[in-house]
Symmetry: C2
Subunit: 456 residues, 2 copies
């Protein structure tokens, strides 16, 4: 449906009222698309690596030059134009593993368990390939949350796996409840053979952050049921709920202690696309593997071996896990840009989204704690639902199409992520400049009022 | 064995004589690794796109700025940090299709048949996924040349296909002969079900360039046998044989005319890793598909849909297919850098390699016409073969290891690419600065003489 909504946007379908000047597209988790400025430290280091002559002048800070020089030194022939080892540049794997150890309060991390890849989604698909036997009967099952990042659903389906949904409890801030996990697992009986459990924390599309307690419950459940844990933790740097804290599955597992900490199999994903830098276009992420059987590791190694990954993305990963520190010449500017978005600006967006959306009786938005999106529920009137069905559309798709046509704002419908039968949602990226968010909310409010009136 | 040879290089295995100062690694097709300088126009455009502030000063030529500005305009939010459509940025697909049309003397090319991907190898693997049924019995076969680019062999094996070898005739400049293709096809009977024919033109590891006549024969053969043509044409810009000309499979197919030109299925691959720019680290290539069934195209579309590709690599592709033209401010510099390598510098390397290698009675190098490598045959003495076997090594691997240990030059052995039983080869990249090539030949000659004496 993406294509349809976008195509309509591009082609200017007849009947569009065009009271707006330009379409604001917040249907992706892509901050630059919505006007967020890139971090200059990242861009300067990348530009200097690409075109080392830039380091001759005095335009670039000394720490930018030092970083670029050090990273160029890790490239074959001193050029970002060379191939590298398929798992990634060894020194960058080392930086990542040190970052993970710091993040996890000292839990050991070994570079040989990390694979850099052209995007974290690619890494996830590769791991799924190992877990899913596409010809097995019964078919391989993977438990996935509802709602769920849509590309993961596509990856699973393409591989011939069965996606076994467990529903997050919206009314409780999209909590992951153990009885529901058990119900989901039971539902797979006779249908498929569940081998893995996929979680997204912080969430996408819903903006929850799992508590340490919840994570540990999930780990115990996985251990008992012998499920491989797939922890999609790409939003680990995007936590803004006042009471929220990011705890990695790896850390929680270590804190549980033996024998679980030595046996539960876990893959955790992160990416340069998310976090503060939001460099989606570089297409570079990584996976860390924990407690995997050496034979399985070998197989994974083969899968990752037919491609090496973009060098510039790896350089961005190095900056992501080692941003400028107090005292570094670039630190003041870095801090300014960083703080403009997080927490100041993003926190303001969060507050305004919750405020405006929840001011409507037929909208409801759970507290936004982390991730890149708001995923409010919209209570559509029966007449709107009827009209959508006549048009052969899902009701929330119908809503999003109308929003696009009448207000020039591109959201995506809950339908794309899965939602409880009879409920409807809309998803939009909240990582935008504050004035863009105000404009979005203004357009949405005006449209929504009109829409509800029309179908009341 | 790569790992072994390299590991030894890195770890400095005992017994190494170390008469050299540093290891020269020409085992990859990676010009920057061997010291070739990147094209500054490419790097300037990329740096300007990454860090647009660079365009404020007068450091960059106006055509660099114009190109960067135009390409930034094709990125969502004007940033190379945004996601793009999974097939690639539409305007860049358009540039590529226009390039292909010019290359092929006007044969039509449609952007919707092109998919940009994170490296051409990734595209090839994806197309193979569609062609190979990994659970079929008999298994799916793909005809591959011997010698063959080693990653393709790995891709095929990982997918569960049978690689059916057809041997190129070394004595005739690695010619592809029709009787041999027929023999290969016959050899598959009862073993597998051949569905596709893979060619590399210009060659890797052997440096041949196929003639138009040879290509048309292959196409007719494929048509008759209902084989899908996989044309690995990544070295299309690397042709230096005096009598040689690159003719694309697509063009040759069009020239044959209907009904073949409307029915033979073809995939052709190209990449920013090769050609003059040699930007392997950007990991971006593309495939053009010709005459594919719409249902198959849909399936391929799905496979390419779980990942978009690096934006910076796409920008490099735009420059690759639209280099500076006479009259452009950057043209003189571009021409200078370009000519330094091609034809002047590379042609000199080619001449020297042929000269030096063929001056030894126990070496034989076919004329080098295109591609990035020399692949001479080495006639190893029985005693060396014996010694290798004692060490549990292939004879040419043994030779390469000794070359590395004693002369600090890293080649790869013919064993990795396939070769006629009882023949031995070595492969090395010829895209190096001329002085590096002189040093390589000097070290190789001294080592070779010594080695032959030792085992005579
Ligand atoms: C939960 C989640 N996982 C993975 C990804 C993919 O990230 P990448 O760009 O690294 O492939 C996304 C992108 O939006 C995401 O939201
Ligand atoms: C014949 C051939 N095909 C494909 C490739 C892979 O190119 P890419 O870097 O685009 O994946 C190579 C790389 O050496 C090659 O030699």
């Amino acid at each position: 449906m993406f294509a349809t909504v976008e195509e309509r946007a591009v082609r200017g379908v007849t009947g569009v009222r065009k009271s707006y000047r330009e379409v604001i597209d917040v249907s992706w988790g892509d901050p630059h698309r919505a006007g967020v400025k890139p971090l200059s430290f990242v861009r300067q280091v990348l530009a200097a690596c690409l075109y080392p002559e830039l380091m001759d002048g005095d335009k670039l800070m000394v720490d930018v030059k030092q970083r670029a020089q050090r990273l160029l030194g890790t490239c074959a022939g001193g050029s970002v134009g060379s191939y590298c080892a398929t798992a990634g540049i060894p020194q960058i794997l080392q930086s990542i593993s040190q970052y993970i150890m710091r993040r996890d309060g000292g839990v050991p991390c070994h570079p040989e368990n990390i694979y850099i890849s052209p995007g974290s989604q690619w890494a996830l698909t590769n791991i799924l390939k190992v877990l899913v036997n596409s010809e097995a009967s019964p078919r391989t099952g993977v438990l996935i949350p509802v709602p769920c990042h849509s590309t993961t659903i596509i990856s699973l389906t393409t591989l011939g796996a069965v996606a076994v949904p467990y529903y997050l409890r919206e009314e409780r801030g999209w909590a992951l409840e153990m009885e529901e996990l058990q119900r989901a697992l039971d539902s797979a009986k006779g249908v498929c053979n569940p081998v893995a459990l996929y979680m997204i924390n912080p969430g996408n599309p819903a903006g929850y952050v799992q508590s340490r307690k919840s994570i540990q419950e999930v780990i115990r459940f996985a251990a008992e049921k012998k499920l491989f844990l797939l922890a999609d933790e790409v939003y680990q740097d995007c936590v803004y709920g006042k009471e929220s804290e990011f705890v990695s599955y790896k850390r929680a597992l270590a804190e549980i202690g033996a024998p679980l900490s030595d046996s539960v199999e876990l893959a955790s994903f992160h990416t340069a696309s998310k976090g503060l830098m939001g460099e989606c276009g570089l297409r570079t992420g990584y996976v860390e593997l924990v407690n995997l059987d050496p034979a399985v590791m070998k197989h994974i190694n083969n899968l990752f071996s037919t491609n090496s990954c973009p060098i510039l993305g790896q350089i961005a990963l190095d900056v992501m896990v080692n941003p400028p520190q107090p005292g570094d010449p670039s630190y003041p500017l870095y801090l300014k840009v960083r703080h403009f978005y997080l927490p100041a600006s993003l926190a303001q967006n969060v507050r305004r989204v919750e405020e405006v959306i929840n001011s409507f009786p037929d909208f409801s938005c759970q507290p936004l704690e982390g991730g890149a999106f708001a995923f409010p529920r919209v209570f559509l009137p029966p007449k709107a639902i009827e009209r959508a069905k006549e048009a052969g559309l899902q009701p929330d798709t119908f809503y999003c199409l109308r929003l696009l046509e009448e207000a020039g704002v591109l959201f995506s419908p809950g339908t794309e992520y899965g939602q409880k039968e009879g409920t409807y949602h809309i998803r939009f990226c909240i990582m935008t400049p504050t004035d863009t968010m105000e404009e979005i909310l203004r357009r949405l409010s005006a449209f929504h009022e009109q829409f509800m009136k029309e179908f009341s």
